[in-house]
């Protein structure tokens, strides 16, 4: 309706006849521009705040941290294991969540009857609305007792592989943490992938079927290649959320400050966000600066992950239509 009017609009400028519509345009343009700018301002404000508050810790040497009970050595020696733990937990979450999400998305887009697919879609979206503290309590009270026998079996039968060595109950280890994170990031990954799969050109699918493919072969030939960049970007979105998750990890994990791959041992790893939540209440002075500095590093890593996702999507954009 409005698309045909602009020339007239311009010719009648000043007469006031079209004033209500014009006013609407101006207001909406103002609102949307402000919102757009607001995002940049907020991001900049967060970055500046982090940098400003973290600066004393970033330039401090090991002696200045002598009074801080939870830091030994300098800032980087302290952050490195935390960063490692953060990435490890997120990677475990991703390894578990990706096959699950692709399966759910395929089921919804290509297997399930329409009604069921819709219902499932709603339920998956609902999962995303559950607060992380609930996931944490659920993970500790319900999921942990459930996985303990599995962990015990893994450790006693495959314990010669360092990954699974020396499990001790209760299972407050990085694997449990990663599993809880996996459940938390499944909704966002599934929702993204599902949308991409639904966009697969009908002609591709029909061509594949016409050549005599089964449904699974059609999915391999048409749907998955088309959705590859969408899958990657969904993974990166999930990774971003897993990196910053706090409460669930704080509740589920016995923290430690080591860099190793003992996935079933308690007290070996911790994540940056959970560590901030753990130590912030009793901290003051340079300790707070150090915690904020670790937050800045997490911010930078998350930012990097998102940039990487963009880059991958853009690089592959020409091979598929998912954008």
């Amino acid at each position: 309706m409005a698309t045909t009017t602009p020339p007239q609009d311009q010719s009648r400028r000043g007469t006031g006849e079209r004033a209500p519509g014009r006013l609407g345009n101006v207001i909406f343009k103002g609102i949307s521009t402000t919102s757009g700018v607001m995002i940049l301002v907020t991001l900049a404000a967060v970055a500046i705040f982090l940098l400003y508050r973290a600066w004393p810790a970033l330039v401090a040497n090991a002696e200045e941290f002598a009074d801080v009970s939870f830091i030994e050595g300098n800032l980087w020696e302290w952050v490195a294991p935390l960063l490692f733990g953060t990435v490890l937990a997120a990677v475990i979450a991703l390894v578990v969540a990706m096959p699950l999400s692709i399966g759910i998305a395929l089921f919804i887009s290509h297997y399930a009857p329409r009604r069921l697919a819709q219902l499932l879609g709603y339920i998956i979206d609902l999962l995303a609305a559950i607060p992380s503290v609930i996931f944490g309590l659920w993970g500790f009270q319900w999921l942990r007792p459930l996985v303990e026998p599995l962990f015990a079996w893994l450790s006693s039968n495959l314990g010669f592989i360092p990954l699974f060595a020396d499990y001790t109950s209760p299972a407050r280890n990085i694997t449990t943490g990663g599993l809880v994170l996996a459940i938390m990031i499944v909704p966002i990954i599934t929702a993204t992938i599902r949308e991409v799969f639904l966009q697969t050109p009908r002609l591709h699918e029909e061509a594949s079927l016409a050549l005599g493919s089964t449904r699974w072969e059609m999915i391999r030939q048409a749907v998955l290649p088309f959705g590859r960049s969408g899958i990657i970007s969904a993974a990166m979105l999930g990774l971003g959320r897993a990196l910053g998750e706090t409460m669930a990890i704080l509740i589920v994990l016995s923290p430690g400050y080591a860099i190793n791959f003992f996935l079933l041992q308690a007290g070996q790893h911790n994540t940056i966000a959970a560590n901030i939540a753990l130590h912030f209440p009793e901290s003051s002075g340079i300790a707070v600066d150090a915690l904020i500095a670790s937050g800045l590093i997490l911010f930078a890593v998350t930012f990097g992950v998102n940039m990487l996702a963009r880059w991958i999507i853009n690089r592959r954009a020409e091979f598929s239509g998912a954008n």
């Binding site: 209760p170 407050r172 704080l250 430690g256 080591a258 007290g267 753990l278 209440p281 009793e282």
Partner: protein, 382 residues
């Protein structure tokens, strides 16, 4: 600030409501209390008559957050009895509390540590001579374990055994060292899982102080608020620790004694005997501890005897002091601080804080109360 006051007021309201309910339900016990404290009560009453309705005005305190729950109970009780008085307490932490007390921002303070030499000199200058330090908050720390069959009994553990368990050297409940101390109990073949606080806490600091003092050969770490052993099971705050302990059998941990609940608690080896946690035993260790080097009649600081051999003393406690001046500039401050701290030291005040839903602390002994009251009587305006 406003927020904090609001929250505190809410807390006070809740506690007074609770107190009312308790009074309503337990008329027997409150009647007992009043008759019991007949002697001391009369002296308090005369004191009260002296000051009479003058107990009004405002004093402020700040300091140790360990005392926070107990102080809320005391403030509620004191202001109920003296509606005209306003006493506040800001749980800023011991260090800040001492600092604010010395520079005159607050009239009294709570501190987990005694004033050191330099601070004491500054405080004496601020107070015009006498400084009062009284150990009015004694919070026992229980060593709890989760072995469902044995949660009703107190397993006996000597200091070296406790230290060995938490250092990770003793790893099974049927270790000879544990079996030897518990001839009457059948101990299971079960792995011991030590659990600690993952955050910085006064509980951890006092527990590691105990381990370092009572079992120096086994426990080689320095006392600290942050748990020194790596690779352990742990939880944030007391609730987190209890969650982990309840999550698996064979776990052992240290928590505020008021939070033991259904878990078993250890009888700690003291000399030749084993002392299970009790409020009296916890107060006892404060009595048998030697006075600190700079202690006087008003500075009732002690060197807590964590390695005591005294019969019936429970050595794992957190002691927090109340600090006040001997002389205040204004009559209002002097009488209010005196009145408030006398209430805190009184049987009523100590019993109030001892209730599990207030702070679950251990009431001070009558002997300590006499010494504290003698010190508090020196408070005057001038």
């Amino acid at each position: 600030m406003k927020l904090a006051t609001g929250r505190r007021m809410a807390g006070i309201t809740a506690i007074s409501a609770l107190a009312l309910t308790l009074a309503a339900c337990g008329s027997d016990s409150s009647a007992d209390d009043t008759t019991d404290s007949g002697d001391t009560g009369s002296s308090e009453e005369t004191g009260g008559e002296d000051m009479g309705a003058e107990l009004s005005g405002t004093v402020a305190g700040s300091g140790a957050s360990s005392q926070e729950n107990a102080v809320q109970g005391w403030l509620a009780g004191f202001m109920e009895a003296n509606p005209g008085a306003t006493v506040t307490y800001d749980p800023t932490g011991s260090g800040t509390g001492r600092e604010q007390f010395i520079n005159g921002t607050v009239q009294f303070a709570g501190s987990d540590a005694a004033l050191d030499g330099e601070e004491l000199a500054a405080a004496q200058e601020r107070c015009g001579g006498t400084v009062i330090e009284a150990p009015l908050y004694i919070s026992p720390i229980a060593v709890v374990y989760n072995i469902p069959d044995l949660n009703d009994t107190n397993i006996n553990l000597g200091p070296d055994t406790i230290a060995g368990i938490f250092a990770g050297e003793i790893t099974n409940w049927n270790d000879p060292a544990i079996v030897e101390a518990n001839p009457d109990i059948e101990l299971p073949d079960l792995e011991i899982v030590p659990v600690n606080r993952s955050d910085d806490s006064g509980t951890t600091e006092n527990f590691t102080e105990y381990l370092a003092a009572a079992a120096p050969e086994v426990w080689t770490h320095e006392p600290s608020g942050l748990w020194p052993v790596e690779g352990t099971q742990s939880g944030a705050q007391t609730s987190g620790v209890l969650g982990v302990v309840e999550a698996a059998e064979g776990t052992i941990a240290y928590v505020d004694a008021s939070r033991v609940g259904e878990l078993g608690s250890v009888a700690v080896g003291v000399g030749d005997e084993f002392v299970p946690f009790s409020p009296e035993a916890a107060a006892n260790v404060v009595d048998v501890s030697p006075a600190a080097a700079d202690a006087t009649d008003t500075i009732l600081t002690i060197d807590l005897a964590r390695d005591t051999q005294e019969s019936g003393a429970y050595p794992i406690v957190l002691v927090s002091y109340s600090l006040a001046c001997g002389t205040y500039d204004s009559e209002e401050h002097a009488s209010l601080v005196q009145g408030y701290l006398t209430y805190v030291a009184s049987e009523e005040g100590q019993n109030r804080a001892a209730q599990p839903d207030v702070a679950g602390s251990a009431p001070i002994s009558d002997g300590m109360r006499e010494r504290v009251n003698a010190a508090l009587e020196t408070i005057s305006a001038g």
